[in-house]
Subunit: 278 residues, 2 copies
Amino acid sequence: MRMRSNEKSGKGMSNGRAVNGFLLDITGVLYNSIYKSDGVAIAKSAEAVDFLYKHSNVKFLSNAKGNSNRNVARRLQRLGINVREEDVITPAPVVAQYCREHKLRPHLFVREDVLQYFDGIDTSSPNCVVMGEVEEGFSFERINRAFRVLIDMPKPLLITMGNGKFFQRVDGPCIDVGAFAAALKFSTNCEVLNIGKPSRFYFEQGINALGMKPEEIVMVGDDLMSDVGGAQACGMRGIQVRTGKWRPDFEKLPVTPDLTADCLYDAVKLIADNGFRL
Amino acid sequence: MRMRSNEKSGKGMSNGRAVNGFLLDITGVLYNSIYKSDGVAIAKSAEAVDFLYKHSNVKFLSNAKGNSNRNVARRLQRLGINVREEDVITPAPVVAQYCREHKLRPHLFVREDVLQYFDGIDTSSPNCVVMGEVEEGFSFERINRAFRVLIDMPKPLLITMGNGKFFQRVDGPCIDVGAFAAALKFSTNCEVLNIGKPSRFYFEQGINALGMKPEEIVMVGDDLMSDVGGAQACGMRGIQVRTGKWRPDFEKLPVTPDLTADCLYDAVKLIADNGFRL
């Protein structure tokens, strides 16, 4: 791509509105996940990230719920994608902060690696359930424990780290935490609070981290409804990439991306070549 | 109870309509289940069953999905409750018959003990999922396999053995298969066909087994919505017992039983003493 930053781009030479910041989804945009391994980098995503660090502003807004921000960043670094830990946003620390601010005592149905964020939070006699577990740590016994906590509450509250229908692994699509939130809602009639995309509250974490107005930001994701539609609902522009969980039948869904590109690199190149306008 | 059969009861001496047959739920009515054990008989349910075999007509209509009819009957017999295998109705054989009649090729997400009912049914390139698995055989991997089968179908069909919110074990309530049907529906937008109470098709199995009109039959169950409400919707009378999963807050729910009794024995005694009328 041509190394032209937004500072250098003249207004007259390009169309569209200025793009001053990028929020990037991680899984399916930077890399594809493989069960119990680091996964594989998506072609040229490393170059795209380097370029954005150099010529624009970038944060990473993921619904990844299984690892700490440190381990998310380290995994990407092992794949050659130089994402800085401090630029990674995942639901677990946001949920923990929400629990602190709202004096919630969560029953934690989460991965071991994110338990650290809940240090110091009272988890005795829980008044909500926090769920962010799928794959190897998921079991009937664990969802049943969450069910029993909820069924005993007068006003059951389930906080879920993302509300996705499925996530994409290299071996195929996998049922995601949103399905198990629907399961618990079916059986307990709980309120479900999603702290993850596409909730506005969660997108605001990314907007605030970039420190700019939503209309200056583009969100790049592989999930049309959650990434693209969610970003648009918050006043950002939403870019669909044809990687990760993208499927041709997304075109039948009721969200129209501001841009569709084959991959992150292509999206960044197109915007940069247009003087950081879209 | 007074040993008075319906033949002996004079019309003038009692109120209500004739009761010529009983459909009994099993778990929570005859016995309470304990994880990985036979469970415990509910007081006097054995006497009530003996009495009904002697003085009326009785079949057992259960949503139990983990065991063959033979093993359901044997378990009850070990608890001293003399239920005959041929009088037990559970979803698995009914689902298998449905698959045969509709030329369905199921992906089987069921317990090992009920696989025998599907002998001879083609399960290659499945065009539906049959689900009847909770507790020890449930895993992320297995529900994910069911998810992948459904997500690949143009018109995904999930047949579920019962659609309950929870079942009751002695150690507490447990999230039931209805929740996981809701999960799969959330993620795949599948059609959900419940072959189990409260579906009319399933109640008809019990009605046909008794060989009488719905209005001659009472259904006795511990689940207000599924057993009692479901039976009433089919033209039977529905009796709620205060055993199993019964909870005081059932009174807030929008179904009114034709009779509420502390246990099966009390319900049978009251009806028998009233000349088999209710």
